[in-house]
Symmetry: C2
Subunit: 154 residues, 2 copies
DNA sequence: ATTTTATTGTTGACTACTCAACATTTATGG
DNA sequence: CCATAAATGTTGAGTAGTCAACAATAAAAT
């Protein structure tokens, strides 16, 4: 009855390609957990953090539809995320000139401040967990996961 | 306003290690979506599928605590998952001789049948999406994601 | 043996996410 | 111009997941 370890995969594999798939998925889950915990005292969820980061990196107002397409989540989900962030005064909804269906979402000053603070903490952790990776390994990992993702569309 | 593509990452990167991290996380999300859709007509969620697979691969009754540790989710979550699977008659809860706190969870005959059927469909898809991967690439991807996961515990 | 601590499972309050249905508004085709 | 189609955001029901608090039970400490 060996105790499960966070690093172990939940089952054994006969096939390397299958192991790779499960390992990617599993690692993604672990990353999500790690960053949720890391930022928990600043923000309610990793998803809220992601949305703020996208808004900051994009550097211009985005509609909910754009956020939905960028983050690859259903637009109904964005509604709730935005509602929550608005209640915390981190973003603002502004009507779009010329399209009364849409809103332009922008960071508030406070939202911008918080996002920058969290980004520092986040980047520190990224450096920490990739400290053991050579440039070659990082490039390989990025390349292989990108390739895998490309093949998912079919 | 280029339309987002499922393969694109949501932001640009200055740093390969960072790109690798985001790419792993993002690919995990896409995998989850893909398999949810693939199995949707058979089962309510990828999580229910995972639980059934773990039960099948383990090949003996497991307590909810064991499932929680194997799947790395909170035990409170297992309660709900098991409740749902039980309502569908896919698993059974049996009291454990000698420990009145626990249940032994086992697949029903129907649960076993369904799991095997889903596994076939799942494995076909795994083969399909890794068709473009050489043995070397699969091994590298498995190795690098395993390595990344190892470094997450700190 | 009794007290204290740990384990197991459950519940309730939050959060994310999907999907289908809907209203409003904009774009398109006759 | 008008009728139909598409786009945008919202709502409600269903799913997963976390966390904290709780009850029951088992294990450990004294």
């Amino acid at each position: 009855m060996k105790p499960s370890n966070e690093s172990d995969l939940p089952v054994a594999f006969e096939n390397k390609a299958h192991e790779a798939i499960v390992s990617v998925w599993w690692t993604g889950e672990q990353l999500k957990k790690l960053f949720r915990k890391l930022l928990r005292s600043y923000i309610r969820s990793e998803s809220q953090f992601n949305l703020l980061m996208v808004l900051k990196d994009t550097g211009r107002p985005m509609t909910q539809m754009e956020l939905s397409k960028t983050l690859l989540v259903d637009r109904s989900n964005i509604t709730g995320l935005i509602d929550g962030l608005q209640k915390q005064d981190l973003i603002r909804r502004n009507r779009v000139k010329g399209d009364r269906r849409s809103y332009h979402i922008t960071l508030t000053a406070g939202g911008n401040r918080l996002t920058q603070k969290m980004e520092k903490i986040y980047m520190r952790k990224v450096k920490e967990i990739t400290a053991g990776f050579s440039a070659r390994e990082s490039a390989d990992l990025a390349r292989l996961t990108n390739k895998l993702r490309m093949g998912l569309g079919t």
